[in-house]
């Protein structure tokens, strides 16, 4: 029997993989998608409105079990991958929850969806650090517009120099704390605006409106925010052009006698057997770091250092968002007021989009800029209670009085590209299937730490100007990796000597190999990554379809 050859093998089904799969299938290409985990069942794997007392450990998880953080908890634990390890180089700390279920982290993501702009793409020209992106905002603008129409983003037109506007659903209404903090921001001279949130404030493209239960990051049972399994994969499956193989852990890209991509070898996690699938082109969309791990593990006669890696840049240039609590406190105006459903978006209603270095690249003692996500009010659990003094009736009464009042400011600050920050393969440690694991090398750079210090000062000023009481800030930034916004390791650029992929995310040296995730980004900017992964992938996928039409990608 002749071996089956698909048009495209896609590794991964998250934002990048999902968009590639949908776009390619709708163009009539035969796609085999490999996903390292299983399909999720929202009724079992999502929180599904279960209350703490519905859970054995009140949602806190088994104290004996390991946990990787706020989204990977008792409600959703089974959806996260705890089997594939990674290692860290001496001195590196890296916190890294991974979801290898179908749809990946789009099942649980934070939904903030700001476009990158020329201030990001041309940052190097503005401040002299690193290099510009190999494309301009005009190249990607139409793809953002199409993605916004596809997924639905709630926001407003804001005319901010750092934030190109798009096409938006009605924004979230402001809560009491938003009006109070907005007034404080006005006094200090920093912006306070509705965030760009991919959460449906009205029915959109066949998807229902949000019901504001506030448990988004433990999975939406009705699909009222963008995720690959609700918004992309059903359309792809409807074309009958998709074969989705689950529990298929990609090991390496296979090559033909010319060193071009011929398919993918994967481990069937059920049988533990290695399986090969063949295609005319391969899309690697396993998520930044994981994609590079697969490519570094794709060693052959042609590619002794990993496929398409003559530049040696594969795995290098890892960037991440510094996260941390820049300020916390409370709003005395709201003491003792009735409780209010503040916690309806589970992360983002408002933001303080980048306001630094806008008129000139060197206004501050750091380059580039950061954004801040303020939040607070009545949350599911009164965390502030642990910091109050005393016990008894007065303590209990004070918890109730303070319940509507807490506020926090969370910074999102980009690291700069650095030779010190990269991933490689651990020379010794292998995963349970014998595949070398990723080893992380990472430290915060001085520029990013200056942003952290700056944000603490400004957020404290805002809180005080709003009439709030400042109680402190995080002891330091969160551990690297926490944001889940890692970028780089497979950057795009015009020069094959310095970049793995070209401006379309296509490997310079292996034109039928495409990378569709945040690993092609030059850095992480002050914005989140998902909407840009979607827009860049849509562009890459259409480029790939053109290549098929021209006959560039043939069977091996």
């Amino acid at each position: 029997m002749a071996k089956q050859i698909y048009d495209v093998i896609v590794i991964g089904t998250g934002a990048g993989g999902g968009m590639a799969i949908k776009t390619l299938c709708e163009a009539g290409l035969k796609v085999c998608a490999l996903n390292a985990g299983r399909r999720l069942d929202p009724g079992k794997d999502f929180r599904f409105h279960r209350m703490p007392w519905d859970m054995k450990f009140r949602g806190l998880g088994d104290p004996k079990g390991e946990s990787f953080g706020y989204m990977d908890n008792e409600y959703t634990k089974a959806a996260w991958d705890h089997e594939i390890p990674f290692t860290v180089a001496p001195g590196t700390k890296w916190f890294w929850p991974r979801c290898s279920a179908v749809g990946g982290k789009t099942n649980f993501w934070g939904r903030s969806s700001a476009r990158f702009g020329d201030i990001d793409f041309k940052a190097a020209s503005l401040d002299g650090y690193d290099v510009d992106w190999p494309l301009t905002y005009a190249d990607i603008d139409p793809f953002y517009t199409r993605v916004e129409k596809m997924i639905g983003v709630a926001s407003t037109v804001q005319n901010r120099p750092s934030n190109p506007d798009g096409t938006y659903l009605p924004p979230f209404n402001f809560r009491c704390l938003d009006y109070i903090l907005e007034a404080g921001c006005k006094k200090v001279g920093v912006p306070y605006l509705p965030d760009r949130c991919a959460q449906l404030t009205q029915p959109h493209e066949g998807h229902p409106a949000c019901h504001y239960c506030g448990e988004c990051t433990t999975g939406c049972d009705v699909g009222a925010f963008f995720s690959s399994p609700y918004f992309l994969l059903p359309q792809a499956e409807a074309t009958k052009s998709l074969e989705l193989r689950t529990n298929a852990l990609a090991k390496n890209v296979l090559v033909d006698e010319n060193g071009q991509a011929a398919g993918v070898a994967y481990i069937d996690r059920n049988t533990k057997q290695e399986v090969e699938v063949y295609g005319r082109a391969v899309v690697v969309a396993a998520g930044c770091v994981e994609s590079s791990r697969i490519m570094l593990n794709s060693k052959s006669r042609h590619w002794p250092n990993g496929i398409a890696n003559s530049s040696g840049q594969l795995g290098r240039n890892l960037c991440d968002h510094l996260y941390g609590e820049s300020a916390r406190g409370y709003l005395p105006q709201l003491l003792g007021q009735s409780s209010f459903p503040d916690h309806v978006a589970d992360s983002t209603i408002a933001w303080m989009p980048r306001w630094q270095n806008l008129n000139h690249a060197h206004e501050e003692d750091f380059i580039r800029g950061y954004s801040v996500y303020p939040d607070g009010g009545c949350s599911e659990f009164p965390w502030f209670a642990h910091d109050l003094d005393g016990f008894g009736t007065l303590f209990k009464r004070e918890i109730k009085r303070r319940y509507p009042t807490p506020v926090t400011f969370g910074i999102q600050a980009p690291t700069l590209r650095s030779d010190k920050n990269y991933m490689d393969l651990d020379p010794e440690v292998k995963d349970p299937y014998g595949i070398p694991v990723a080893r992380m090398h990472f430290e915060w750079d001085e520029n990013t730490l200056k942003m952290w210090e700056h944000s603490k000062q400004v957020c404290a000023e805002v809180l005080k100007a709003a009439g709030g009481e400042l109680e402190g800030s995080g002891d330091g930034p969160e551990i690297p990796g926490w944001s889940l916004h890692e970028t780089g390791t497979c950057r795009m650029g015009n020069d094959p000597k310095n970049f793995v992929t070209n401006r379309f995310g296509q490997a310079h040296e292996v034109p039928n190999l495409y990378v569709c995730d945040a690993s092609v980004f030059l850095n992480c900017t002050d914005k989140t990554t998902t909407i840009s992964i979607l827009a860049f992938t849509l562009r890459t996928s259409e480029r790939m379809i053109e290549s098929f039409r021209r006959g560039d990608h043939k069977a091996a």
Partner: protein, 203 residues
Amino acid sequence: MAGQGIHRREILRILGSVAAAATFPGFSKWGFACGHVGKSALQIKPAEYHPQFFSPSEYAMIERLSEIIIPSDATPGSKEAGVAEFIDFMIANDPEQQYPFRTGLVWLNGHSERLHGKRFLELTSGQQLSVLEPLGFKGKARPGEEPGRKFFALIREYAVTGFYTSEIGFRELDNPALKFYSESPECPHKGDPEHQHLPPPKS
């Protein structure tokens, strides 16, 4: 206020689906505290709770301490919410916390004997409070009682967690989490954006 909260159980009934509630069999008060008392088709009978980790005398101290930390006063407290059961269950499952809890209780008994010649539970309520106040209030701290302060902070953290993750704790705060709204809830005081002139809180 925009939107009317609908209780999630009603929604689940409408949707015809049932959330899988934890069915850990050992609890009595969890069932009592968390069911819809008098309405539930499956009325769970309060049964005597058998501690999984603490000895009976230790468990009596856990009960008393949690009830002092979050008392039953104008509203239900730790007793009604079964906080002692929560603490026992969590500690039974958390080997790292077993030693601090056990030694903390031993310290408290020894300290009570040093101060009043009796074990903690044998003290009058007034004496118990006089032992605990220097441990629980920063302004009343006394030198030499660091182990007690540390233990009290630990059990207070568990009591707070146990209480405010119970249905009774949610009711105490009128906790709006996980309810359903037809539109994104909006501040009802837009004429006063800085919220300097809100009506005084209900006492």
